[in-house]
Symmetry: D2
């Protein structure tokens, strides 16, 4: 029999599809395990302002399907100070909270660690970000949906690219990591992908694209050609790359920035399942002697990782995906 605890949950940083599914799982699992659960609103701001809400069956019902986060999110620069962490700790104590669950990305986890250094309670992180740039978990909540959104957008762009046999340059999100760009490129059968992890400089990239395009045009005449570009890789930005490709290949190049659309939407099944499993596992740790960890999933099994490991080590791209992309990208039939 588990001892009843009081749990608080919040979402922080960029929102990601599946955050709501994760909140739902936390609330249901708490209820099943006899814990009480409240939700802080607006990320760490809610913690500082003691702004929180109780959960009801009405809020939870159908929550699994919804994008965004019912607890709202926010960036909170102020939380970095010692004073803020102390205020948060007193607020948590004032509500007799035993465990705080933070759903967010690496900035949110740094905040969670910072709080943990000033609070006696238990702090658990859950990885919620479309960027998948969190070490210690194979996937982050929201990543699968963002891939799907990017891929269905690129599928649409392909229609126009084919109709006009034209080059398109599609920028996808990912902060400083290429996970989303690589997966989107593989799944959309993109002709080329520019990733931070594999970037060899502007000249080499331009030459590489030009060479590949030249071979294909010799073999097959005019063709459509889609380049997936991870954000923040190209020094001069997508318009610079577009203009240089335009000049180099003597072709009209159209840039498309997918933008914030990638953060929203009803989560796909894989994100709902991941969010549900991680949320339930986090609650199973409530009251156990484990603290300042993120609950992630490695090889299909939930695991716990010390919070600092999630940002201190760099998560590598999936090696077999990289190999596959490189193996196929130069095929004449691609």
């Amino acid at each position: 029999m588990t001892q009843q605890k009081r749990v608080a949950v919040l979402t922080s940083g960029g929102d990601a599809p599946g955050m709501n599914a994760c909140i739902r799982a936390v609330v249901l699992a708490c209820e099943q395990n006899g814990h009480e659960c409240i939700g802080y609103k607006h990320g760490y701001n809610g913690l500082l302002n003691q702004e929180y809400t109780e959960f009801t069956a009405d809020i939870i019902h159908n929550l699994i399907q919804q994008g965004g986060t019912v607890l709202h999110s926010a960036r909170c620069l102020e939380f970095k100070t010692q004073e803020a962490a102390q205020r948060a700790a007193s607020n948590l104590d004032a509500l007799n909270i035993d465990t705080l669950i933070v759903i967010g990305g690496d900035g949110s986890f740094r905040g969670a660690m910072h709080l943990s250094n000033h609070w006696d309670g238990q702090v658990i992180g859950l990885p919620g970000t479309i960027d998948n740039d969190i070490a210690g978990t194979d996937a982050t909540i929201g990543y699968y949906t963002a891939i799907e959104t990017a891929v269905s957008s690129i599928d649409k762009v392909r229609d126009t690219a084919d109709a006009f046999e034209r080059l398109f340059l599609v920028e996808v999100m990912g902060r400083h990591a290429g996970f989303l760009a690589l997966s989107a490129a593989l799944a959309s059968a993109a002709d080329y992908v520019v990733l931070p992890e594999l970037f060899n400089g502007e000249e080499e990239t331009l030459n590489d694209i030009h060479a590949q395009l030249t071979v294909r045009r010799e073999l097959r005449g005019n063709i459509s050609y889609i380049i997936v570009l991870a954000e923040n890789v190209w020094p001069g930005g997508i318009n610079d790359l577009s203009q240089r490709l335009n000049a180099l290949t003597n072709s009209e190049v159209r840039p498309v920035i997918l933008g914030h659309v990638q953060r929203g939407g009803s989560p796909v099944s894989q994100d709902r399942i991941l969010a549900t499993q991680l949320g339930a596992h986090a609650v199973s740790l409530v009251g156990k002697p484990v603290n300042a960890v993120m609950v992630g999933e490695v090889n299909g099994k939930p695991c716990e990782v010390p919070l600092p490991m999630t940002w201190e080590s760099t998560k590598p791209l999936d090696e077999s995906a990289v190999q596959t992309m490189q193996a196929l990208i130069n095929s004449r039939y691609a």
Copy 2:
């Protein structure tokens, strides 16, 4: 019994979802009526270069579902010359074509009219553009799908806007018309919409938004707020509007340009049905004494409109949609 004719079809200008459905309908209806049918490729360029293709059951099968155009499209500036129209006429005659069907927008229809002035055969236009800016038809092929794509994107943006209670500015296509923007704004429950047809200048628009936002914030605190912006309306472009709103409302404003995604994708049912009906109706006119017309649909019935009328008169926005948008936009609950 209809007399057997030889029909050619081409797609021209910006591609639109449903062009393929329209090609399919033309080919099937020709086959049913005993006409032969070929397809010119790459718009008017194919006509100038005598580049064409026969249709087979394999090409037609499942074509209704596909975005883009199997005949490819292109802009063709050269076609404006007298020499080009004459060359096209000889090419059509060389293949014994009786009727040319052109699927495209107003630029394509000008080309069709130009050709018609230099060719004895029958020329029929079919309205294919996501912009819906063609007079003489209630809707154009591709318009419904573009609305759906824009709306499902704005639904996703709403998730993030709600999570952060933030302003978003979403630019949708439409060339110089507000059809797509108005429909997308109505269907996505946008909080404000900036349309060319109703634009009263920068200052008035900024003040209007500011006033509405101020009222809502007084009543309901922080809220999300989505502005749909038709492309080509705001003199300084979306980033200028974004920065000025930022300054004026003292809030972070995020601009999102939906871009080329709006041109592609499998057509929604309404576009498939419209394309099929218009294509079949166009073929029913083959060999009849009607020429240089566009086949459109008004009040659910196919009709024929002289080509010049499609661009000479300006098509107004749907009045009841405008009224509804204006009626709801200032509600406190919106």
Copy 3:
């Protein structure tokens, strides 16, 4: 300046996507016009049990996107009695309701008329049903979404039908009308469609399918073949038709019943816009000397129709859609 009234709204009968969008429009338009608005729950049952709710900005926000109905729906056989209508009238009077808006299908409209015979207030109907079987309006709220759901399901079935070159029989909803089946068949490029309005008996249908299939197989070998079947047409049901086609064509035939999936889902843009326009127009009639009418849309414009006309006259299928289907269905390329 309009005089302030008290308005009640309810949803009744089978739910349809867009009912929520319609509720939202009613609430927003009331607020804009200075009327108060409450919602009765569970259709006419709520009216009998005086079960109602106030609307808040929280309920209305994002409601346009949601399938189902937040007011819930129900069938209410009891409402047919005189006693029930009188009780409803007293309940409405007890709350000082001036206008009752009923969103539903023809059963709901009969109930509304029945109530109107026993109540002094104003009764307005809004057509909400996926079946589109309401005279006096070109389309009903929910119809467009149901077409889309059916078509995207048939698109999926087509993949398997093509892979196995097999016959599939897909039953779509529509009660006793063929609107949904005809539109779904046209938009999915179905090879055959069985509609109540055009049904010539079992033998003729079987022979017709057999003859068409035989021609196609002679020309093109094994092919996939999809028959769309309106529900309630085939006397022995879909499994009987499936078995008889099996025997007749000497082919495996797979029956698929799309079922309740067709009633749900986030409404497509056309339903959201229709629902919004009709809802706003209904509110514009509040307090005006018009009563016991349905607000529909004909040729793109809102209109009012006496309630009994909505069920007394039979709404015909769209003639040009029928002609197109018949024109294309026998093409060898189809």
Copy 4:
């Protein structure tokens, strides 16, 4: 430098989304590695009838997006005989095929093993089935898409279930395994799930549902309630279960059979990526001393498994998914 080989590929058994993506990967990887590649049509029937096709860039382009299989599929009972395997072997030899790649499920793999016993060439299997019932791989090609299709259907059913506060019984595919049902139930927040792996008999299941439903109704009044039922579990079929629940719970219960819709559709990104990786890995084995294996993916890495292992060992449900489902299912808030 790899030695040039001749590779043949076929798809067999029930079609699954991603089979085309897998064919594409095989063709591209062959081209990149200097191998020639042909495709047998209609599964093993093509092998027996020497019916095959060459691949061209046109066939491969955009193939990743398409459901079904361009090579067609079929069941082939005849292939079980010794004579058939010998004929297939001679046909392969007549075309100088070195390696045959079979994309399919366990029946297809038995066929592949059977052929391998009568042919000197290399045989490689790739797991393509929506059922995920193949041991030796974490997921099968098509599984992720089928989950998504099932879940988006159940999301729609939920709208009606909520509107009427009614019980729905939704049957999903899976042959004799509960993978699809469990994932669909978890991701759709179903209230109950009936799986072959966890089935404790009819009475216990009925009592379990009844007990849970009774508790919820006491707490929350009328509620919607969705039961996901794996096909082939309930002895009397879905209608029997529906009627018994009807009687037991004194509620209207609506049965929905999702059916063949689950096999089709454009593959989701996870299936496209899995199919691409497995296809490319299979080609990397061409000419290597490995034979009669399936290429699967375990813990994100491609692996090879002897064909008989794929059907001799029973693949268990994911344990943490089972635990999560059981942990949440009885929550009052679910």
